[in-house]
């Protein structure tokens, strides 16, 4: 055994001690509480998406003529195809939900504040990438609703002043939905967005490592004893348990509520009601509440405010002298998000 270890050591000159030093980031005590571990959950689900996505790509054929039939084949004929597709679908749902929960935790604990403003903005980029990858993935099925959802989304993009037309053309690969649109969605979904997200994740985690995880201390905690514990194996086990629970949850959801096929896209028949995937319900309801350009611009303004929130927060606290103003604004924001999403879901189809 020593001979083998030495052979490997000679060719990969990294010692176990050095590796442990690099990976064994001191973890603050508050992360012993599992609900503070939501940052690892979307990362874990992202890995699930990559693995199941690669398996789906083996059979998926990205063109308007073949997309629907290939997804139907995956769902109905390929061995375990229905399971892989269902896990991919539910992992996407859970990933978006956990990203939002993670962002809520970061927001309400003020973990975005100096010096972590840039990392908050990278997180925002990751959120937008996650929503976009969800949208493009939904459109790849070439179902009636996904087709018309994409068409409506492109038309909404068109309402953005100055750059709207360009955004629509970039999204649809032309002025209208055409034979290049599905391949365009596929490239975005399977290559550009995942690569971008991996890069952003690397920077996101690197910055966390450089700044250290923001430390939160509960009122009843004393200064006695160490304020940190080891990443490996303590925190690793916590993350592993969450991962296994998630895998069980995904399997249950995939089995009980498997992904099914809606009607094939028919460009000549507009559905009575067009709805996007659930994670755009709040946006969709907002756009319905207000007309045209105002709705789009106001939505853009909200995204801008979210992006630059660390700086706005600083300014607000200085002007209002209310230290926790962001918490109250956040509560209103979450209620708004929940209300708009639920409202759109409850409107009769």
């Amino acid at each position: 055994m020593n001979g083998v270890r030495n052979w490997i050591q000679e060719r990969i000159p990294v010692s176990g001690v050095e590796l442990a030093e690099v990976t064994n980031e001191p973890v603050p005590n508050h992360l012993r509480r599992w609900w503070f571990c939501l940052g690892g959950t979307p990362a874990y689900l992202f890995v699930v998406q990559i693995v199941t996505g690669i398996l789906l790509a083996v059979y998926y054929q990205p063109s308007p003529e073949t997309a629907y039939e290939s997804v139907r084949r995956i769902t109905e004929e390929v061995n375990y195809g229905w399971y892989i597709r269902s896990v991919h679908k539910w992992a996407a749902t859970l990933m978006i939900a956990s990203v939002i929960l993670h962002q809520m935790r970061v927001y309400f604990t003020g973990a975005y504040r100096r010096p972590r403003e840039i990392n908050w903005m990278i997180g925002m980029c990751l959120l937008l990438c996650t929503l976009l990858i969800g949208f493009t993935g939904y459109s790849l099925v070439f179902e009636q609703l996904s087709y018309w959802g994409a068409t409506v989304a492109a038309n909404i993009c068109d309402m953005i002043p100055f750059v709207g037309r360009l955004a629509k053309q970039l999204l649809l690969a032309g002025d209208e939905y055409n034979e290049n649109t599905v391949p365009r969605f596929y490239i975005l979904h399977a290559a550009i967005l995942p690569a971008t997200m991996i890069l952003l994740l690397v920077v996101h985690i690197a910055l966390i490592r450089m700044h250290g995880v923001s430390e939160l201390k509960f009122e009843d905690e004393t200064d006695d004893g160490p304020g940190h514990y080891d990443f490996f194996p303590d925190h690793f086990y916590t993350e592993l348990i969450i991962g296994l629970v998630l895998m069980i949850l995904l399997s249950v959801l995939a089995t009980v509520f498997p992904a099914i096929m809606g009607p094939r896209a028919d460009p000549l028949t507009t559905p009575e009601v067009i709805k996007p995937e659930w994670f755009f319900y709040a946006t969709f309801r907002w756009l319905k509440l207000f007309s045209g350009t105002f709705a789009v611009l106001s939505m853009g303004f909200i995204v801008f405010v979210m992006f630059t929130w660390p700086f706005i927060d600083t300014l607000l606290r200085r002007v209002t002298r209310i230290e926790e103003i962001s918490v109250w604004i956040g509560i209103v924001g979450v209620f708004l998000l929940v209300a708009l999403t639920t409202w759109e879901a409850l409107v009769p189809h």
Binding site: M104, R105, E219, I260, I331, T341, T342
Partner: protein, 541 residues
């Protein structure tokens, strides 16, 4: 704010968010299952129809129609009872029912409020003109030969000759009952409202304008109404879902003939059993012929894979397993630029095999068959060519068959039809015409044996043969078809015609007898009849 408080805020908001997601996902999953046809669709009861659904849904009312409606696409889209049954107070059959002005019969004109394209196509179709049988030989058979047409002020009564045990009150029945419960339930008839004198008030009396409103208002005073002011229907004309029904508003047809009320199921209309209500039996067994064909065999085997609930049901996209009646004659297919269903079932039919002699279906602007033989005149008259209709059908065939296969099939079919026309139909027609011309038979139909023989030959056996050939059913083409045509022609029609001529000669009508025999001789001298031995021909003489 203490960290513990923030933790509570995060926990509560996170829980709220997750609960909302569970609700949203539950609704989403339910919606997807509805879309995929795995769960009953969401029913939207419009406010105007809420009380109809509540009241008629009760067990002592008519819960069946409510159940059927709840399973319909109309219910999913919020199209309720009043949307279809609503009427204008000026409509002849309108009445007020719990504050809503409605009519019992929903006509194609009513359906056209939402389905104008389907209405236009259907009104131009042969189906819509099914009621034209009212003046045909078949109807004479049902009304007079089978029944009793005592035309006394529009009442066709029949008095039984003996009492019916247990039913002493039956002293008069409708003499045209056979036509009403038979012919007219498929072909349709004039729907009539009951007049105070017991007769039927029909479209002929009402003379409706384009919007369906009656222009002859004088006749409205004769309407018989119940205590609620509801006009009564003439029981001889209603119920009636015949496809060529002639409605009070002047529109033709009944959409529910194929799209059964009240679920208006496209799925059902796509299946051959639906057409089999009328297209079956000894005279036009299309349903049985289809079942015998490979198409019908494949359908029975693969029905569950045919996506019959698909929204547009496009051949080549939604299914390819087998064609049904609807597939070939009406449904959308992927070779159309824009896959579109037609409600004119004649747009893909090139031969009419209904008359004694099959007719090539070049039709004029009114959809009538052009019989003109002069090529130049014919060219001017023909608006819709049979060749184009055949091309339309071939586009369907080509989803599963090669060009050569399809063209060869049509060659076989044309050969068969022309062989039947020339060897048996036209000769039979000529013999019957000569007998009539020489006054050796009466002008009354079905009062002589040879008239029944001739009717069997073309109306039953001849149609079976031709329909069998049109749908690739060999047994119907031959044993139920041409075999029986040949037997009827050689063993019954010719001997009976010779016998009539012989009787005529004995009665001193030698010239008339010779004329008939000359026609028969000329026919039998043709090469296609030369297989018969001379002595057999002599025996016949």
């Amino acid at each position: 704010m203490q960290l513990r408080t923030k933790r509570t805020v995060i926990g509560l908001l996170g829980l709220l968010f997750m609960l909302s997601l569970v609700l949203v996902q539950a609704l989403e999953v339910a919606h997807r299952r509805e879309q995929a046809g795995l769960a009953a669709a969401h029913v939207i009861v419009p406010a105007s129809s809420q009380s109809c659904v509540t009241c008629h849904g009760q067990p002592q009312q008519s819960p069946g129609i409510v159940d059927h409606w709840e399973d319909s696409t109309h219910a999913q889209k919020g199209v309720g009872c009043v949307d279809c049954h609503r009427a204008d107070p000026d409509d002849v059959d309108a009445f007020t029912h719990y504050d809503a002005v409605i009519a019992t019969v929903v006509t194609p004109l009513d359906c056209s409020r939402c389905h104008p394209k389907e209405y236009q196509e259907f009104e131009g179709s042969h189906h819509a003109k099914g009621g034209n049988i009212l003046a045909s030989l078949d109807n004479f058979l049902a009304e007079e030969v089978e029944g009793f047409r005592a035309d006394e002020g529009g009442r066709h009564f029949f008095n039984p000759h003996s009492p019916t045990p247990g039913r002493p009150e039956i002293d008069e029945v409708n003499g045209m009952a056979s036509a009403f419960v038979g012919c007219q339930q498929c072909h349709g008839s004039k729907v009539g409202l009951l007049a105070t004198d017991g007769t039927a008030i029909t479209v002929d009396d009402l003379k409706p304008d384009e919007s369906g409103k009656p222009t002859n208002l004088a006749v409205l005073d004769k309407l018989e109404k119940d205590e609620d002011g509801r006009p009564k229907f003439h029981p001889g004309t209603w119920p009636n879902t015949g496809i060529g029904r002639i409605n009070l508003d002047g529109s033709l047809g009944s959409c529910s003939a194929c799209h059964s009320r009240h679920d208006f199921s496209p799925r059902r209309a796509r299946q051959p059993e639906n057409c089999g209500k009328c297209h079956l039996g000894p005279d036009h067994p299309q349903k049985e012929i289809y079942e015998e064909s490979k198409h019908g065999v494949a359908f029975r085997d693969l029905k569950e894979h045919m996506n019959l609930d698909a929204e547009n049901w496009v051949l080549g996209q939604d299914y390819t397993q087998a064609p049904t009646c609807a597939t070939c004659h009406m449904s959308a297919h992927s070779r159309q630029g824009t896959p579109t269903v037609t409600h004119d079932a004649g747009q893909r039919i090139s031969w009419s095999n209904r008359p004694p002699v099959s007719a090539w279906l070049d039709t004029d602007a009114e959809g009538k068959i052009v019989t003109e033989t002069d090529p130049d005149v014919r060219r001017e008259l023909v608006v819709h060519t049979a060749e184009q209709k055949r091309m339309n059908m071939k586009q369907v065939c080509l989803h599963c068959h090669t060009n050569d296969y399809v063209n060869s099939f049509y060659k076989q079919y044309d050969d068969f039809v022309v062989l039947y026309n020339e060897k048996f139909a036209k000769p039979g027609q000529a013999i019957m015409a000569e007998l009539g011309k020489q006054e050796l038979i009466t002008s009354t139909q079905f009062d002589e044996e040879i008239e029944w023989t001739w009717f069997y030959l073309w109306h039953h056996e001849g149609r079976r043969a031709r329909h069998g050939a049109s749908m690739m059913a060999p047994d119907y083409s031959h044993w139920h078809g041409m075999y029986e045509v040949a037997e009827r022609f050689y063993i019954e029609l010719i001997p009976q015609a010779r016998e009539i001529a012989a009787h005529a000669a004995k009665e001193g009508k030698q010239e008339q007898a010779d004329a008939v025999n000359a026609v028969i001789d000329e026919i039998l001298a043709r090469p296609e009849h030369a297989w018969r031995k001379p002595e057999e021909a002599a025996d016949e003489e």
